[in-house]
């Protein structure tokens, strides 16, 4: 594997505590008042110029959230979150939705450049070899730039900040928002419903294959802010879309809250491929700081023969609480989940998926690779269920864990529920360390121990990496090596 030398070299360049994306952008910003009450919800809604029905929807969620208690079943441990001391809205000051990229604050563009996100369309167009990717960039609470909009519009694809969609496509938003993850769903999703500030909205009309990859980059910049983005993707009959999501945040001593909701709707014969590279700041080696990532992601295969596929590479966050799920409602629909979750330092990951088979002849596949190093805890938690009418439901699950070092933990908590005899479920899980034989074999052929580990780990996660779009796969491979830096020897 040619990447090995490069990744190892790159790992050396970067000190483990030097989270690459840990810089702060010095930009004036406007925040809502500290704390959370109905006025804050009204403030956010007013900032976004939202119609009355949207405000009501938010307030409804807010009132319900006040009656809920935080879930505590996950294998994660963190001090109580002071929900009433957080800032729920932060935006670059004097923010006016930009018409073209030239209207965007150059400081912001520089930030995204540093993050390696190609916001400038020209640059991308100039690079002949590169595939084109439309980007929606979200900075703290607002979407700052969406590229390639005009070209996408030609194909009939709507790709815009969700705040804009609420204003300009209310019929679509009303029909689909909250239809997969209802406002009553869980503590964090309900909080998100009340205070979400931005996110992406995608609608791919009937029979359209989205001409390029769509992508969102999320960035938390401001201190003490929570980021609550909301993504809604609808693939109409026969449509196809591939969507990428990336996340970073500055290094801070305090923990920051991120509670996002992602809803996917696939109608008849539609397909949605959703890929995430999550690289929020994980905290330092002692576990100080880092992002609390409490995310609800769910896809609804509503139509016949629809397909939703989740691919995630989780390397960041102090705490990850995330279960991208598929509701397989449509006859013959298919759900897939490919995950690499890497934890190092004091990170805690509790992640997995739910495959809920409701329709006939539905199939699902789960491939999960967990790697724990340092003092981290890594848990796979998943549910596969087939309901009475889901005849011929099929699931294959494979979750493997790799342990590096003696102070980390790897846990597997799968739930299998079969209510029909025609369901066939297969589940297998293994936990092991990198075998000395494998390492010896590599080292004997001239690789250093670090190189050998990088090579073996890359092989271990290959099944999942292959599912990622090209440019993400390369990025993810490097991230994996960086995340494991310091775990050997």
């Amino acid at each position: 594997m040619p990447a090995v030398q490069e990744t190892v070299a790159r790992v050396r360049e970067i000190d483990v505590d030097q989270y690459k994306y840990g810089f702060v952008t010095d930009i004036e910003s406007e925040r809502a008042e500290q704390g959370l009450n109905e006025d804050i919800v009204r403030f956010i809604s007013a900032k976004k110029d939202e119609p009355e029905w949207m405000l009501e929807w938010r307030l409804d969620a807010y009132r319900r959230w006040r009656t809920m208690t935080e879930p505590n079943w996950a294998r994660v441990d963190y001090p109580p979150i002071p929900y009433d001391d957080l800032y729920y809205y932060s935006a670059p000051k004097a923010f006016v939705a930009p018409k073209t990229l030239d209207d965007v604050d150059p400081e912001l563009l520089r930030t995204y450049e540093k993050l390696g996100i190609p916001l400038r369309e020209q640059e991308i167009l100039a690079g002949v070899e590169q595939r084109r990717v439309a980007v929606d960039a979200v900075f703290d609470s607002v979407s700052v730039a969406t590229t390639f909009k005009a070209e996408l519009a030609k194909a009939g694809v709507i790709f815009c900040p969700i705040s804009e969609a609420i204003r300009e496509h209310p019929e679509l938003v009303k029909k689909y928002l909250g239809s997969v993850v209802p406002t009553t769903d869980n503590f964090f999703a309900t909080l998100n419903s009340a205070v979400f500030s931005d996110g992406s909205f995608v609608y791919v009309p009937k029979g359209v294959r989205c001409p390029m990859e769509l992508s969102t980059y999320f960035r938390i910049n401001e201190r003490n802010t929570g980021q609550f983005e909301r993504t809604l993707i609808i693939a109409d009959e026969g449509a196809y879309v591939s969507y990428l999501e990336g996340c970073t945040a500055p290094m801070r001593d305090e923990n920051q809250l991120h509670a996002a909701v992602v809803e996917l709707v696939a109608l008849d014969d539609a397909e949605i491929k959703y890929s995430t590279v999550q690289n929020w700041y994980p905290g330092d080696a002692e576990g100080k700081g880092g992002i609390y990532n409490f995310v609800t992601k769910r896809g609804d295969c509503r139509g016949k023969n629809s397909k939703i596929s989740w691919t995630q590479v989780e390397t960041g966050s102090a705490i990850t609480w995330k279960y991208p799920s598929c509701i397989l409602r449509g006859e013959g629909s298919r759900g897939e989940f490919y995950s690499i979750a890497i934890s190092n330092g004091r990170q805690q990951v509790d992640s997995g998926t739910k495959m809920i088979h409701l329709g006939k002849n539905t199939t699902s596949k789960i491939i999960s690779k967990g790697i724990s190093a340092g003092h981290s805890q890594n848990t796979y938690r998943g549910l596969v269920s087939a309901h009475r009418k889901a005849s011929n439901a099929r699931n294959f699950t494979n979750c493997d864990s790799l342990l590096i070092g003696e102070n980390c933990g790897a846990h597997t908590v799968p739930y299998l529920e079969a209510k029909t005899s025609t369901a066939v479920f297969e589940h297998e899980a293994t936990t092991s360390k990198i075998s000395d034989d494998q390492k010896f074999y590599c080292q004997q052929r001239g690789l250093s121990e670090e190189e050998a580990v990088a090579l073996i780990v890359n092989g271990f996660v290959k099944d999942v990496l292959q599912q990622l779009p090209m440019e993400f796969a390369v990025e993810a491979q490097k991230l994996i090596s960086i995340s494991l830096e310091g775990s050997v020897g």
Binding site: M68, T69, E70, P71, N72, W73, T184, D185, N186, F187, F188, A189, T296, R298, W321, K322, Y323, S325, K354, R381, L383, R388, S401, L403, I404, G405, E406, N407, C408, G409, A410, H411, T412, V413, P414, Y415, L416, E417, A418, K419, T420, S421, T422, A423, V424, F425, E426, H427, E428, A429, T430, T431, S432, K433
Partner: protein, 445 residues
């Protein structure tokens, strides 16, 4: 999971059910009258405390998610009185394993019956005492749990109400040539019966314990607890048959503590009762020990079979194998919850767990939750779970050779569970278990 709202409301307690109230009243009235008297009442109270505080476990309690004891136990049956001569006669007819060579200790409706039993001192190097005697002599120590999760409710109920049972001590190096068969028989209209077997094996001892649970069609509630304490290099084989009447609620807990180089082999066949839950808590406390836990289960109609186990590795170089198979017909439901825990420093652990359910009817249901919880890096652990129907191609193969559908199914199911049952070394015992399996395959009850 993110979608479940259930977990968030876990602390909201509904009003006490009739069964919970009855259990509380019953405990208050019998606590001091049960064997051991006041001397052991602290141990009994400790057992009852979780029920007193939280009631019976419901599906909102994670460990009881699939087996809602509050719903299954609508009423609390009264404790059984001493068996009458008619009861004893009825029990005699129900005793299993007549052809198996073993010393027999028989409990009818929870009480020891000498006339059906062999003398307790018949095994060389083995001291067998009755539980009431041990309680009188040794206080509540024998009721104090080891290796149980904090506040475990089924074992707690057993500690609170148990009246009879055996305390077995196998001397170091003793290898008696015969097994001990503890038979539990329930007869009558419906009562609660609690039993306990506490076995301690000295270093290098080897012992075989057979446990059977049978009964008539009364709505009985049985709760058994077996605790096994193995000193270094001891070997224990445990075979359990659960074949109670189809109206019985069966709760059973096995707890085992394994010293260095010990071997534990446990096999259970569950073919009876309306609802049954077998819990196993096994912990490795010495290096180089091994345990093999296996089980086969059959259920038809609306029966419910639960196997819940936690194997804790807290020593070096230990190996555990868990293999459980269930065949389900009608609207029966099987539950498997298995957890392998590897504690920090328990290096070179080798753990493998497999749960398989075969659904023979449209409406049968199988739930499985095989867990791994691992805190050491130099380990090899794995688990597998499968749920499915019989392979159509295999059925077709047999039918094409003139074997009728029912028989072909029986053959395949027999092969499916045979893998587990054929591991029993004692031939008459193995035949008796296979015979019981064969009878289920005809009746499918």
């Amino acid at each position: 999971m993110s979608g479940a709202t259930g977990a968030m409301n876990a602390d909201i307690r509904p009003i006490r059910t009739a069964a919970e109230t009855a259990l509380g009243d019953l405990f208050a009235s019998v606590r001091d009258a049960l064997p051991g008297g006041r001397a052991v009442s602290a141990a009994r109270e400790q057992g009852f405390a979780p029920i007193a505080a939280r009631g019976l476990p419901s599906r909102r309690v994670e460990e009881w998610k699939y087996t809602d004891l509050r719903a299954l136990m609508r009423v609390a049956q009264p404790l059984s009185g001493p068996p009458s001569a008619a009861d004893i006669a009825a029990a005699r007819a129900l005793l299993p394993f007549a052809e198996v060579e073993a010393a027999r200790a028989v409990f009818v409706n929870g009480a020891y019956v000498a006339e059906l039993s062999d003398p307790l001192d018949g095994l060389e190097g083995v001291s067998v005492r009755r539980l009431p005697d041990a309680l009188e002599a040794g206080g509540g120590a024998v009721l104090a749990p080891f290796g149980l999760p904090e506040g475990e409710p089924a074992a707690g109920l057993n500690a609170a109400f148990v009246g009879d049972g055996l305390v077995i001590e196998v001397a170091a190096g003793a290898r008696p040539d015969k097994a001990l068969h503890v038979a539990n028989v329930q007869v009558g209209v419906g009562h609660a019966a609690y039993g306990r077997v506490a076995a301690t094996l000295g270093a290098g001892a080897a012992f075989t314990l057979i446990e059977s649970h049978v009964g008539d069609a009364g709505a009985h509630q049985t709760n058994g607890l077996v605790s096994l304490d193995l000193a270094d290099a001891a070997e224990l084989t445990l075979v359990k048959l659960q074949d109670e009447g189809l109206a019985t609620l069966h709760l059973a807990t096995l707890t085992a503590r394994l010293g260095a180089r010990t071997k534990l082999s446990s096999l259970a066949l569950s073919a009876g009762s309306a609802a049954a839950r077998q819990q196993l808590f096994v912990s490795f406390e010495g290096d180089h020990a091994s345990a093999e836990l296996t089980g086969a289960g059959f259920a038809g109609a609306k029966r419910h079979l639960d196997t819940t186990l936690v194997v804790t590795h807290d020593a070096l170089h230990c190996a555990s194998r868990e293999h459980f198979k269930t065949a389900l017909d009608g609207q029966a439901r099987s539950v498997f919850q298995g957890k392998i825990v590897v504690k920090p420093g328990a290096q070179k652990t080798d753990g493998k767990m497999m749960a398989q359910a075969l659904l023979l009817s449209e409406d049968a249901e199988a739930d499985a939750k095989p867990e791994l919880e691992i805190f050491a890096d130099d380990v090899v652990c794995g688990h597998g779970a499968t749920v499915g129907a019989l392979d159509d191609e295999l059925l077709f193969y047999l039918k094409a050779r003139g074997i009728p559908q029912g028989e072909a199914e029986a053959l395949l199911v027999r092969a499916f569970v045979g893998e587990v049952l054929e591991g029993v070394e004692d031939e008459p015992l193995r035949d008796a278990l296979l015979d019981r399996a064969a009878r289920w395959l005809v009746a499918r009850d």
